[in-house]
Symmetry: C2
Subunit: 342 residues, 2 copies
DNA sequence: CTGCAGAATTAAAACGTTATAAATCCTTCA
DNA sequence: TGAAGGATTTATAACGTTTTAATTCTGCAG
């Protein structure tokens, strides 16, 4: 003869244990068990121990749906995934950093596609309105990013990859792109390069301004000719960037130094050199920011600065946990400094 | 004077509408509203229309937590993310394909890290035991993959990227790696190459056997010398692969053809050529499988076969939806064919 | 009219949790 | 001995949904 779930559970059979199971097993009420597991000081220490032991023994794990329904907290963190553009390996490293930090915290990570054609705010609105997450992470932050504005209005926890120019503080993690650009320019200047150029990301991104400022001011300080490659951005089709860089090499005064913000651009620049018969290290040098070990296996070797996106993901996830736990936003930011060019 | 939530909702204020709100608004009961939204034929057609209109007007969206608690279905699909190894851009493309297919289906995608050091089954067990998802996607499938075995035993919906050698059918999506290897070998042979080599993935993966078989049998058919590079796999540190390939070039009879399964290996092979003074196209040729447009900007240009991982992600997500909707597993598989080498 | 089948709707319970308010138990002190 | 009062514990409601088992309504045959 078989019994209903309470007894079946008592007998340790397949049924997933619930608070009710623990209550049966320990002889306490469901309410006490719930409080005991939450380490509520109103529950006797001995009771807490008993309950904890039973929970451990039966492998009790709270039901996410029930908890979420009751508390309104989702235990979910969402990541906006830009579907179009991609540094090589960016997503993988970044996501790995995030998920590995969140493992064991009870939070799960959901990925929401962020299609460039669509309204950039739509996924954020959906998350807010339908209460789909407790916190949000995203990249490609703009100087006056509408997502940041909306999230701050709603007082919804988030961490942006990249800073904004809003006056109110909010949590962010960023890489010191100005310092990178300065170091790259200084490195090229030290090699005797006198005509350097750079392809920038779109003007809307905050880090574009940082890059530009670092590039321009370091080049001025070094007294060398410098140019932002016109007509293309990092997000242009690589064929367009390739065309622009190749055209420049056919001009009267081709550049002898390239600052590349991403790996793809660096490869394009290398290809432009090769395709026009120029030799890297002789006719020109390239300094690139890299997020993967790919350049270890690219010939000729170029000098690079590593941006650790796994660490970035980890920092963002940790910061979001802090924010959700109530840490004040002005204390939550972190600027990663570049290593020396190598 | 303010009212409680029902009336507030009636007045269209901020509160998120629930079934109760719709019931108030339409004058029907909660039960009827629920059924009407589910298009239950027992509800009068006119009623269904009324309710649908009200839901539309108020922007009603069912609460995931409540539905999940009641039905036991999570509306979540999980992806096991391998944290260590990465084809360039693999994760990004794959994940984009998955999330973009699932948008609008009501399913959300959670990413679960799959640390190579840990028990490979642990994340799967957690998902099963805690009912964290309705379906599962994963890659790097092994011939007798324990995850597949466990999931089949539990009758839990999943789609593997790659086949297994279990007799019972299960849903999978794969790329015809045997055909790729054959085509690559034929391509090299047609170029007059007589000593070809290949770095394989680990022996445990099913696709390794496909690659080996295609490689070996095509080379035999062409009557050329062929070798699996010993001592390293695709998952070895790139420095180790580089060392092996470089060493081979210093041997008495260096290879004149390389079949590369991933982009990184192809770059390593190119670097090994460059580092030993060999010239691609003269001393040796490389054929590689690629998953990104990176080789458009690598010089020298090598011949490649494109594996569309975004399409793979889409196919897997669609197939999982089918499986969860009850389609029989034996109908759910798809083998992507390689384009000609180019 | 009455009765009854079928159509349409609904009350109520349940999923597993947390939180409010109330109840019980103990200890201590007059 | 009897309250007072703190320490513990508990009954119960609620979160929003689906579903079982009624209930009400409608039209039609007898």
């Amino acid at each position: 003869m078989t019994h209903d779930s309470p007894l079946a559970a008592l007998h340790g059979q397949g049924e997933r244990p619930t608070l009710r199971t623990l209550a049966h097993v320990t002889g306490f009420s469901v309410a006490t068990v719930s409080r005991a597991l939450a380490d509520d000081p109103r529950i006797a220490v001995k009771t807490r121990a008993t309950v904890a032991a039973a929970a451990e023994r039966l492998g009790y794990i709270p039901d996410r749906a029930a908890r979420r329904l009751r508390t309104g907290r989702t235990q979910v963190i969402s990541l906006l995934l830009n579907t179009e553009h991609e540094f090589l390996g960016f997503t993988h490293e970044f996501l790995t950093g995030i998920t590995e930090t969140l493992v064991g915290t009870g939070y799960s990570v959901t990925v929401v596609p962020d299609q460039p054609g669509d309204d950039r705010l739509a996924p954020v609105r959906t998350i807010l309105r339908n209460n789909l997450a407790d916190g949000l992470l995203f990249t490609r932050t703009e100087a006056f990013d509408p997502r940041v504005r909306l999230l701050m209005e709603a007082d919804f926890p988030f961490v942006s990859h990249g800073r904004t120019e809003f006056s109110a503080p909010h949590p962010w993690v960023d890489f010191d792109n100005e310092a990178f650009a300065r170091a790259a320019v200084a490195h090229l200047a030290a090699k005797g390069r006198r005509r350097i150029c750079m392809v920038l990301p779109g003007d809307q991104f905050t880090f574009t301004q940082h890059l530009r400022y670092g590039f321009v001011s370091a080049a001025r300080a070094a007294g060398i000719y410098h140019e932002i490659v016109p007509g293309v951005t990092l997000d242009s089709p690589t064929a367009a960037i390739a065309a622009a860089l190749t055209a420049a090499r056919h001009g009267p005064n081709p550049p002898d130094g390239y600052v590349c913000v991403g790996e793809v651009t660096a490869l394009v620049a290398l290809a432009a050199l090769a395709d026009t018969g120029a030799v890297h290290g002789i006719d020109a040098d390239i300094v690139a920011k890299r997020a993967s070990p790919i350049f270890d296996n690219i010939r000729p070797r170029i000098d690079t600065v590593f941006e650790d996106l796994r660490a970035t993901g980890r920092a963002m996830a940790e910061m979001l946990l802090g924010r959700m736990a109530g840490a004040p936003p002005e204390t939550l930011n972190r600027l990663f400094q570049p290593d020396p060019v190598a």
